[in-house]
């Protein structure tokens, strides 16, 4: 190309995008390559030099801790996304039903649900820790005692701890699912509901045959996004249980953190991080495909 044909510099998109790309290259791309490289080493901490080896990945597969963590993470993720999808859908349907009848209060309910979502994760962990206090000051313990439970255990026994960590995560994440489903429901043409009413459909039938089919695309996207968010959960669990008792609530991110900063096994921590990243990338690839299909539809 000759100089005469060249576009003026201000017309070139990549000139405007350069600061962003530079930042992402240095603080995203380079770290991602570096963490992959580190996962192939026996690095112990930040300072000491390391040798290349596959041992990190190999040892993970044989490690009972890794298998135990995978079990905890699977339960946590599966139960969280099920809860968030179902409650998000129910609340969105409720708010939409209220709006269709022009009942006041829908906006208030929406705002209340979203408050849980804007709270910092650490604060959510502390709030639930206070609610679940097993001494006299805990309100959930008191409620349990009214129902006949004596000396209930919430966070001090493995099973209940995992249950309550999951509940707290559902409480936190439902708002996001709700707002996505709500936005999706808003795009359903009202005529469809009117037609259903004329055909004599009840509220449940409308939900089943009008709302749900129209939401298919959004539900799938929602599913991918909350799966990733739940997989990455870290801040909320720390004040709530710290991963305990024992390692009963040690989710993936917490496991990585412990490997690197408590056990000084940087290489193994990086290997788990790479696995986590690979799952994330695979899910985002699904997400991208769904987005394209949604746009095409």
């Amino acid at each position: 190309m000759t100089a005469g044909q060249r576009r003026p510099i201000e017309d070139r998109p990549f000139v405007w995008l350069a600061p962003l790309f530079l930042l992402l290259a240095v603080l995203y791309l380079y770290p991602l390559i570096d963490v992959t490289r580190l996962s192939l080493t026996d690095a112990t901490d930040a300072a000491t030099p390391a040798h290349y080896t596959f041992a990190s990945y190999r040892s993970l597969l044989g490690s009972s801790e890794f298998l135990a963590m995978t079990r905890v993470a699977l339960i946590f993720v599966a139960a969280s996304i099920a809860g968030q999808l179902v409650f998000g859908l129910l609340i969105a349907a409720l708010v939409c039903a209220g709006e269709r009848r022009r009942l006041p209060g829908a906006a208030l309910v929406r705002a209340i649900v979203l408050v849980g979502w804007v709270l910092p994760g650490v604060v959510i962990g502390i709030i639930w820790k206070l609610l679940l206090d097993e001494s006299g000051a805990g309100i959930i313990a008191y409620a349990a005692s009214l129902l006949g439970g004596r000396n209930p255990t919430f966070l001090s026994a493995p099973g209940p701890a995992l249950f309550w960590v999951t509940m707290a995560n559902i409480w936190r994440g439902t708002a996001f699912s709700m707002i996505m489903q709500y936005a999706g429901m808003k795009t359903v043409p009202p005529e469809l509901y009117e037609a259903a009413t004329v055909d004599g459909a009840g509220a449940l039938q409308k939900f089943r045959h009008v709302t749900l089919p129209s939401l298919r695309g959004i539900l799938l996207i929602n599913l991918v996004l909350i799966t990733i968010a739940t997989l990455n959960t870290f801040d909320m669990v720390l004040p709530l249980t710290g991963g305990g008792p024992g390692r009963a609530t040690e989710v993936v991110a917490l496991y990585i953190y412990h490997l690197v900063f408590s056990e000084f096994q940087f290489g193994r921590g990086a290997a788990v991080a790479v696995v986590l990243m690979a799952i994330g990338l695979a899910l985002s690839a699904c997400y991208a495909r769904m987005l394209r299909r949604e746009r095409a539809a």
Binding site: E10, D11, A46, L130, P239, A273
Partner: protein, 276 residues
């Protein structure tokens, strides 16, 4: 109408589930120590007092943590917008030589957000240790900006797409350079979008935890999200009211911002969700 009554019953249940935890913690924070273990527990304290807030703000490092957070959040929002505005302009108003590149860049903006900050914080910790950048607020802000600029770019591109192209063209015909057109003509028009983006960035950065947790080791530099964890581990059960007050104080800025501007934010969020 039975239907409306059922809907209101639903509203009340939902509001209780999402509000009660907060109300309970607010109630704990307003109690004198003697009422902490009152039995049966009551939501409204008998002798409410703000003493816990006074003690926390005056007698603990929480005020310093809050100040650090304000510093980090404002620097991050400003820098992220400064990077995102030109990027959004390129994505929305400029012609790419290969048309396929634009959707690829847009998808990339979404994809990077799906990577856990922990994954990049690990190598950054090693790298920054070598460079002596551990315990540097500047380094933390840089990472925050990298985490939030893609989201900001993506949001702002959406807003710029709604601004008529004619505006940009008219400004250019009148002799503005592209930069002048962006700063003097387009920015004022997209101010609501800019504000919504800034608010969402501020709320998410306020809650950001992993990056400062890994990159800061000196407690006087902690933002409130990390500081309150430190605060929690230094507490025992007789100081529950202090922890509750600290939790409320660290959540308050994000909560108030959200409540005051919630219509605005919900609009921006739902617009984004529908666009995909």
């Amino acid at each position: 109408m039975a239907g409306s009554a059922a809907i209101y019953a639903g509203y009340i249940v939902v509001a209780l589930i999402f509000l009660f935890p907060l109300l309970w913690v607010a109630s704990l924070s307003l109690r004198p120590m003697a009422e902490l273990f009152a039995f049966p527990p009551r939501l409204v304290p008998e002798h409410p007092t703000l003493a816990a807030y006074r003690d926390v703000l005056a007698g603990s490092p929480l005020a310093r943590y809050l100040l650090n957070s304000v510093k980090l959040v404002s620097a991050t929002v400003l820098c992220a917008l400064a990077i995102a505005v030109p990027s959004a302009y390129a994505l929305s108003c400029l012609r790419f030589r290969r048309p396929l590149l634009k959707p690829v860049v847009m998808l990339g903006m979404l994809a990077v957000q799906l990577i856990s900050p922990l994954v990049i914080a690990l190598p950054l910790y090693r790298w920054f240790s070598g460079l002596g950048l551990i315990n540097s607020h500047t380094a933390v802000v840089l990472v925050y900006v990298a985490l939030s600029a893609p989201f900001a770019t993506w949001m702002l591109t959406g807003f710029l797409d709604t601004v008529p192209v004619a505006l940009d063209e008219a400004a250019r015909i009148d002799g503005c350079s592209r930069l002048q057109s962006l700063l003097r003509v387009l920015l004022p028009v997209m101010l609501p979008g800019l504000a919504a983006t800034a608010i969402l960035l501020a709320i998410s950065t306020w809650g950001q935890f992993i990056v400062p947790f890994v990159l800061l080791t000196r407690s006087d530099l902690y933002p409130v999200s990390v500081g309150i964890l430190d605060f929690q581990s230094s507490m025992d059960s007789v100081s529950t009211h202090l922890l509750a007050a600290a939790a409320i104080l660290s959540a308050l800025p994000a909560m108030l911002t959200f409540l005051v501007l919630q219509r605005f934010i919900v609009g921006a969020l739902t617009a984004g969700a529908v666009k995909g």
